[in-house]
């Protein structure tokens, strides 16, 4: 079965031509490719949404990872928001705290839904459940948020990469943040083209980001990278909705991310041998957790 879009340009053109949402194009393509019914596809995505809701809830109640490196930051952020003193805004920090909550659950070997990966699982649900409180979407709109995210992730996965091991954190949290930004725009009533601009603006600001997890654990700096990925997505969505466009087209930004990832040194692609993992503190933490020194490039 033929795909309906291979890049963002085709995705936006198709949505414009048929006067449809990006989420609708993604749903139609899924029906085409899988031969499954619309109801079955919606039902599966609804189940994913339920897993995301439960992970956020669990994280906001406070979790701790086995290594002790992460956990509890989502709780701190929620308390801070309640104090009324936040500078960057309650909605933004709510997205950040919910992204953190999800990744804290992930680090604690809890159940999550990968979006597009487990290491980047916080950004899409984090922004979704924060924006939800402002836009009051229907359940269907919330499910559509995931299809819109998926449409952009689909393009990145097939034209570049979505894992830190393959392309660095830019490929992982970078892609997740772009996906979230595009979906926020659609939920807020923006155009398909604005979704693409939001994706481009987000990914441009995450280009070059390396994957350098301390002790090889998906914890430090992954949890805080998800926090900032969520913040990046929120701001880029607002910029696109304000009418700001990216001078470099979305597909070319994805192409740039791919080439940067290819030229990235292996020590910076999830091997825990460079970057923050290779700092004295990173090394000391690894030695403490595993009881032995780790190799550094």
């Amino acid at each position: 079965m033929d795909v309906l879009f291979r890049n963002v340009r085709e995705l936006v053109e198709l949505a414009d031509k048929e006067n449809k949402l990006i989420s609708e194009i993604m749903i139609e393509q899924e029906i085409n490719m899988s031969g499954r019914s619309r109801e079955a596809i919606f039902e599966q995505m609804d189940k994913n949404l339920v897993v995301m809701e439960q992970a956020v809830e669990r994280g906001l109640n406070g979790v701790q990872s086995v290594s002790g490196l992460t956990g509890g930051d989502a709780v701190l952020l929620q308390k801070y928001i309640s104090s009324g003193k936040s500078l960057s805004g309650d909605l933004l920090l709510d997205a950040v705290s919910k992204a953190v909550a999800t990744n804290e659950v992930n680090a604690a070997m809890g159940t999550i839904c990968a979006t597009p990966t487990a290491g980047s699982a916080g950004v899409v649900p984090g922004t979704l459940f924060a924006v939800k409180n402002k836009l009051n979407p229907s359940r269907e709109q919330m499910i559509r948020f995931l299809f819109t995210s998926g449409a952009f992730g689909f393009v990145v996965a097939n034209n570049a990469f979505i894992s830190g091991a393959a392309g660095g954190c830019q490929a992982e949290v970078g892609s997740a943040a772009g996906m979230a930004a595009a979906a926020i725009v659609e939920m807020a009533g923006g155009t398909p083209a604005q979704s693409a601009e939001a994706f481009a603006i987000t990914l441009k600001n995450m280009l070059g980001l390396v994957c350098d997890p301390v002790a090889g654990l998906v914890e430090v700096p992954c949890v805080k990278r998800n926090a900032m990925g969520a913040a990046n997505a929120m701001v880029a969505a607002d910029m696109a909705l304000a009418g700001i466009t990216s001078r470099i087209p979305c597909d070319e930004v994805i192409g740039a991310m791919f080439r940067i990832g290819q030229s990235m040194h292996p020590s910076l692609k999830e091997t825990a041998r460079g970057g923050l993992a290779a700092t004295p503190t990173g090394q000391a933490l690894a030695a403490k957790i595993f009881g032995s020194a780790v190799k550094v490039d």
Binding site: V51, M109, M179, G216
Partner: protein, 220 residues
């Protein structure tokens, strides 16, 4: 096109912490078990690249063993798979390798029991998606996302037609097929991706076709 479904991107639902190193690893283990056809008694698990460097932190080892025990990516029992393997009589060895493979997240699992053994090499390409890249020395490309048949046969005329005929008789449609052999006239392997799960009756019929030495399947 490596990724064909939106659920490759939004999904899978899984136990943390890493889709490539935990969920993908569990899937490689589970496909290896499927191909073996029953619970193995022993397994040697060779890890390469990033798998070898970071398996402890990602639970890659417990995930593969969980897969060998037939656990899905979201099965909470993955966390305690080492203990469960012991209870079920599965002996395993985790072997981090220093050699570099083409893909950074590669695992080779040699598994067996007193009757047979099988070698399966898989790569985890991100987001929990995998490809099986080698089975018993045969290069292939199998995603595990579709039901599939692996047929080992003597490299003789008519084998492929006979297997295709058998599938046709049971109205099983072939979506993708590839054939490879190590040397002309010796052993060859058919990899056949099909549209629906294949029941054991068909497997039995295929295994009775002349020159067919082994048939295994992956259901979905």
């Amino acid at each position: 096109m490596k990724f064909t479904s939106v659920f490759d991107i939004i999904g899978p639902v899984m136990i943390g912490p890493s889709s490539s190193h935990t969920a993908g690893a569990a899937r490689i283990g589970r496909v290896a078990r499927d191909l073996f056809g029953r619970k193995p008694k022993w397994a040697k698990i060779h890890l390469y690249g990033s798998f070898a460097e970071t398996f402890k932190g990602h639970g890659t080892d417990v995930a593969i063993v969980g897969g060998l025990l037939d656990f899905d990516t979201f099965d909470e029992r993955i966390k305690t798979s080492f203990e469960l393997a012991k209870e079920e009589g599965l002996e395993f060895e985790i072997i981090p390798e220093t050699a570099n493979k083409e893909h950074p997240n590669t695992a080779r699992i040699v598994l067996g029991d007193e009757i047979d053994e099988l070698s399966v090499e898989g790569i985890s390409i991100g987001g929990g998606k995998i490809e099986i890249s080698e089975v018993n020395g045969f290069k292939l490309r199998l995603t595990g996302g579709m039901p599939a048949l692996l047929v080992v046969h003597d490299d003789r005329a008519g084998c492929i037609a006979n297997v295709a005929n058998c599938l046709a008789m049971h109205h099983v449609n072939i979506g993708h097929m590839e054939v490879s052999r190590i040397e002309r006239g010796l052993t060859a392997l058919m990899v056949i991706e099909v549209d629906q799960n294949i029941d054991d009756r068909i497997i039995q019929q295929i295994s009775m076709i002349p020159n067919i030495t082994k048939v295994s399947k992956i259901n979905n």
